[in-house]
Amino acid sequence: MSQTSNAANFTLAELLICACAEVWRDEGEVLATGIGIIPRLAQGLAKLTHSPELMITDGEACLTEEPVTIGAKNHEGRAYAGWMPYSRVFDNLWGGRRHALVGPVQVDRWGQANISCIGDFARPKRQLLGLRGFPGNSINHVNSFFVPNHGPRVFVDKEVDVVCSVGYRKERWPAGVKKDYLRIARIVTDLCVMDFGGRSEDSEHAIRVISLHPGVSFAQVQAATGFPLLKIEDLGETAYPTAEQLALIRKLDPKDLRSKQLKDNPSGVRKAA
């Protein structure tokens, strides 16, 4: 089933940009927010291909219908469709019309994520970013995760050190708390794409692998994950970037900042382990 390929004509970063763009397919007229270079390129790519209805910002306080070039020297030629200061971002997200692609430091089997700190909160072993918008985002609108370093320190065996964003762990939801707006769509990692469509004895939202990146095996993904994973039937490869997608990525990122996002900028097709 895996395509035997010669040296790929695309990098892993480019494959991930295309896989990340898929999280916004058929999501409607939502504010698409990708945090970091790869997710941000993905949101632009999604808008320029399958989902022109998405709302995106210029990376600052304006909405634009034309994704901005990453790494531009000045604001020349930018055209703004609307205004989106942070206060309006909150107003929008509290109404639910947003899908963010964020980068957690830890994720557990319930989809709960941590970016606050490692260790004890009162005196952390390592202070991270803090809660930022995770609690409010996760209980109000759809989220997906981007994890460029798939490993057991990210996908932890127990619960994350600090539950910053809500997930599917029933014990965390007291009676009367409204769970209706929780949805975690996908997790895109450097090894695979996963969703929460699995069913197991104790979960209706178990994490399952829905595609493997070229040259990666399910066993390899499982070994890099601190909890048991499910997989879809007929598990196949993540779609390769098309020539059109690659051209658009180059246009959005002419300085090739994407090549500096993953260690050693690996090829999109890795040799099977």
């Binding site: 210029d58 990376g59 600052e60 306080a61 304006c62 901005v68 531009a72 020297k73 000045n74 604001h75 200061p85 942070y86 206060s87 909150f90 997200l93 509290w94 709960q112 606050s116 700190c117 909160f121 009162a122 005196r123 952390p124 072993k125 390592r126 202070q127 991270l128 970013l129 803090g130 809660l131 930022r132 918008g133 995770f134 609690p135 409010g136 996760s138 209980i139 109000n140 600090v162 539950v163 910053c164 964003s165 809500v166 965390r172 939801w173 007291p174 009676a175 009367g176 708390v177 409204k178 769970k179 707006y181």
Partner: protein
């Protein structure tokens, strides 16, 4: 008629140990640093500092001014984690009320409306109310839905410190930034609000278009401080075509990197302070290249 003009030193003379001080701006953007530097030079201590933190919180932690931080984050954006904040947290040196960014906004709004709390879903089903803020409570909707919500407590401020582009002696202000952030709610949540400004004029008397850039009404403002370049090393971008005298500037990435590097060295803060904070604001501006160099720093592009 009113004259609210004062100096940064006058502002700091009104502050007391143990006060709760809210600071406007966002990370490395539009921080009232001239007033913050005056606090750094003062004997003030045991402060509770509230905000979307950047160098303001980091420097106040480094100088031992802080008992407690109330924050959504403390970041310099291109340097994701403020290094002196990280050190203070990892040393267990400060009390931390870590909030969701929207919760902080909500707590300021509750204080602004003189309410004890505002209901929200933010924080429910996370560690935020239990492990991080065990004093937080829930409320049950009295209506048919019976929904359980978090009661986000009001964050009352003794003082708010903000930085804008233009002010007059009555306390009227203009903010031409791409994003006004939550400065309005800091002003409303505070007993007293002091605003530093690139420019202070006798009277602002503008047209209607320019009046739209007035971020909050003057009866919230206790004092205005003239501080051209006063946000340095943070940015004070202006998008205005209306007012060119108080044009904006980007953040000083080189200075911020140097400041962050100092956190990696033993005695790094003392050295930074002796180099940049030993004299007054004019001496500070001289040490970083002069006010013209500050106000010509190019805007960052994202």
């Amino acid at each position: 008629m009113l004259n609210k003009q004062m100096t940064a030193a006058d502002v700091v003379a009104t502050l007391r140990d143990g006060m709760t001080i809210g600071i406007g701006g966002w990370g490395p953007r539009r921080k009232p640093m001239a007033i913050v530097r005056e606090i750094l030079r003062s004997p003030l201590k045991d402060l509770t500092v509230v905000g979307y933190g950047g160098t303001d919180m980091g420097m106040l932690c480094a100088a031992g001014k802080v008992r407690k931080l109330i924050y959504g984050f403390v970041s310099l954006d291109f340097i994701p984690l403020e290094p002196y904040f990280r050190k203070a947290r990892e040393a267990g040196q400060i009390e931390a009320m870590e909030l969701d960014e929207g919760q902080l906004h909500w707590g300021l709004r509750a204080a602004a409306m003189r309410l004890p709390f505002l209901p929200t879903r933010i924080g429910l089903a996370t560690d935020q109310p239990g492990k991080i803020n065990p004093q937080f409570r829930t409320v049950t909707s009295p209506y048919a839905d019976g929904e359980v919500l978090l009661a986000m407590p009001a964050i009352k401020l003794d003082v708010a410190l903000l930085h804008v582009h233009k002010a007059d002696k009555l306390g009227n202000t203009r903010l031409y930034a791409p994003d006004p952030f939550f400065d309005e709610w800091f002003a409303r949540a505070a007993e007293r609000c002091y605003v530093s400004s690139e420019e202070v004029v006798e009277r602002i008397a503008s047209d209607e278009t320019d009046a739209r850039f007035n971020p909050f009404e003057r009866n919230l403002v206790s004092g205005v401080v003239a501080a051209r370049g006063g946000a340095h090393p943070t940015s004070n971008v202006s998008t205005s075509n209306v007012s060119t005298q108080c044009g904006g500037y980007g953040w000083d990435a080189a200075h911020l990197k140097r400041y962050c590097d100092s956190a990696e060295q033993d005695g790094g803060w003392a050295q930074y302070a002796s180099e940049f904070l030993a004299g007054d604001e004019a001496a500070y501006q001289q040490a970083v290249g002069g006010v013209d160099a500050i106000t010509q720093l190019p805007r960052q592009v994202f």
